[in-house]
């Protein structure tokens, strides 16, 4: 199929960016969206132009690098699918596709479609860990974990830190990401030691990074490639209130 692409080009964080229009020809429906971009980049290189910079790594939906806002949706039109797992059979011949970087004050553009997501790392550093004694790992059955809680925790741990929740949110809020990280640990006995300080410190870091505040529109859940539920945001709110009222910190 032949397609028209309108892609955001921006030289660096300070430069003013703009859309460029490109034509790609003979794209197979079996290609992934990123492979289509590889074809376009080869074409640009052959024409002596600078290829488009975009983030990617695993190309199998587990690393969260492939941030692209495609025709108004983070990671494109397929439900619970990353850009690298989106395939060109989602499109038909003659389609025009608009590709933009994540837009958020806390995620400044580095170049073209690549944004700086280190704010997420700093949120994790503020509390997304547990303290354990060093030494050999103990027998797993020494710490009984409620099956239901283990499942909920596992579902929260599926978050790949891609930032689609921030990109989808009208407030550029990182609440779904943060709530997944807090829930993942708050549900397990291993996370109990830092339970109260973790939530307060991570929320504080999130605000410091310049993310917006959650107003529960639930666009994040609809766009999250890993199906992280807003139930985690409810848990985060409850954890936060409990921590503050019990004199947390």
């Amino acid at each position: 199929m032949n397609l028209t692409l309108k892609v955001w080009r921006q030289q660096n964080a300070q430069a003013q960016g703009g859309f460029e229009t490109y034509q790609v020809k003979d794209i197979s429906s079996e290609m992934s969206f990123l492979e289509m971009f590889d074809v376009l980049n080869e074409q640009l290189i052959n024409e002596g132009k600078e290829p488009i910079t975009f983030d990617h790594d695993c190309r199998e939906g587990i690393c969260g690098a492939c941030s692209m806002h495609i025709n108004g949706q983070p990671h494109g039109p397929w439900h619970q699918t990353t850009t690298c797992q989106l395939h060109m059979r989602a499109y038909k011949d003659g389609d025009t596709i608009v590709v933009e970087p994540w837009r958020a004050k806390a995620f400044p553009v580095i170049k073209d479609l690549m944004v700086d997501r280190r704010a997420f790392d700093r949120i994790i550093q503020a509390g997304g860990y547990i303290s354990v004694d060093t030494g050999n790992a103990q027998d797993a059955n020494n710490l009984p974990v409620d099956k239901h809680k283990a499942d909920e925790s596992f579902a929260a741990a599926a978050c790949i830190g891609c930032g689609a929740c921030v990109a989808a949110c009208k407030n550029s809020s990182a609440m779904l990401f943060l709530s997944a990280k807090v829930s993942h640990l708050a549900l397990l006995p291993q996370g109990d030691v830092e339970r109260k300080t973790r939530v307060v410190n991570m929320v504080e870091q999130m605000d410091k990074e310049g993310f917006g505040s959650c107003t529960n529109t639930q666009a994040c859940e609809a766009e999250c490639p890993k199906g992280i539920s807003v139930q985690n945001i409810r848990r985060l709110n409850a954890e936060y209130i409990r921590s503050v009222f019990s004199g947390g910190e």
Binding site: Q73, R103, N216
Partner: protein
């Protein structure tokens, strides 16, 4: 937002109940009795101070939240998902709240300010029933009240559930029930309010 929102919802229940007494169509006897209680009972007077603080806290928080959040995306998208991933009224709480606020200004000017002013001057309460009859004889006033109540309806369609989510109570088990209750509340309460000016205007009430 959640706590002030829930507080305002509880106020709406009382306000709606007292005003709905006009539907006894007894020339306002039952309503005036209840309004007199609300207007003079010391406990209710103290609660009203709380309500005034609550509503202004909600408005200030709401407007600050809206503008601060907007500043978190300095460069917008050329293409947005629109209604694919969220409801329009969920994304328009600031706008809907502002419409409600505009309606409130008119509403306070009609009832609350004259009533308190009259009490303050030592002339007792105004005849709210007669005042309603008078106010709701103008078609443009009735239309503004109806639009105000429709804005409130959409505000609550999102706000009711959202408040429970914000205070951490909308658990998996109860989310559907809370959302259902919210939808019912958001339709029924504003509808009862709409019937008030409409009934006076149409002459359904003596």
């Amino acid at each position: 937002m959640g706590f002030t929102g829930l507080f305002l919802i509880s106020f709406l229940v009382v306000h709606c109940y007292v005003n709905a007494l006009i539907f006894f169509n007894d020339g306002g006897v039952k309503f005036t009795e209840a309004a007199h209680f609300m207007g003079t009972n010391p406990v209710v007077r103290i609660l009203e101070i709380g309500l005034t603080v609550g509503i202004f806290a909600h408005i200030i928080q709401g407007l600050l939240l809206t503008f601060e959040n907007r500043a978190k995306r300095p460069i917008g998208y050329a293409k947005t998902p629109g209604n694919k991933s969220s409801k329009w009224y969920s994304r328009s709480m600031g706008l809907l709240g502002t419409l409600i606020l505009l309606f409130f200004v008119l509403h306070w000017y009609h009832f609350w300010i004259p009533n308190r002013a009259s009490q303050f001057m030592g002339n007792g309460e105004i005849d709210a029933y007669a005042k309603m009859k008078l106010v709701f004889s103008k078609p443009w006033v009735v239309i503004v009240y109806i639009l105000g109540c429709i804005s409130l309806s959409f505000h609550l369609m999102h706000g009711f559930w959202s408040a429970f989510q914000t205070v951490g109570l909308s658990t998996k088990k109860y989310k559907k029930i809370i959302n259902g209750m919210g939808m019912a509340f958001a339709v029924i309460v504003p509808l009862i309010f709409i019937l008030m000016p409409l009934s006076f205007y149409m002459g359904w009430l003596a």
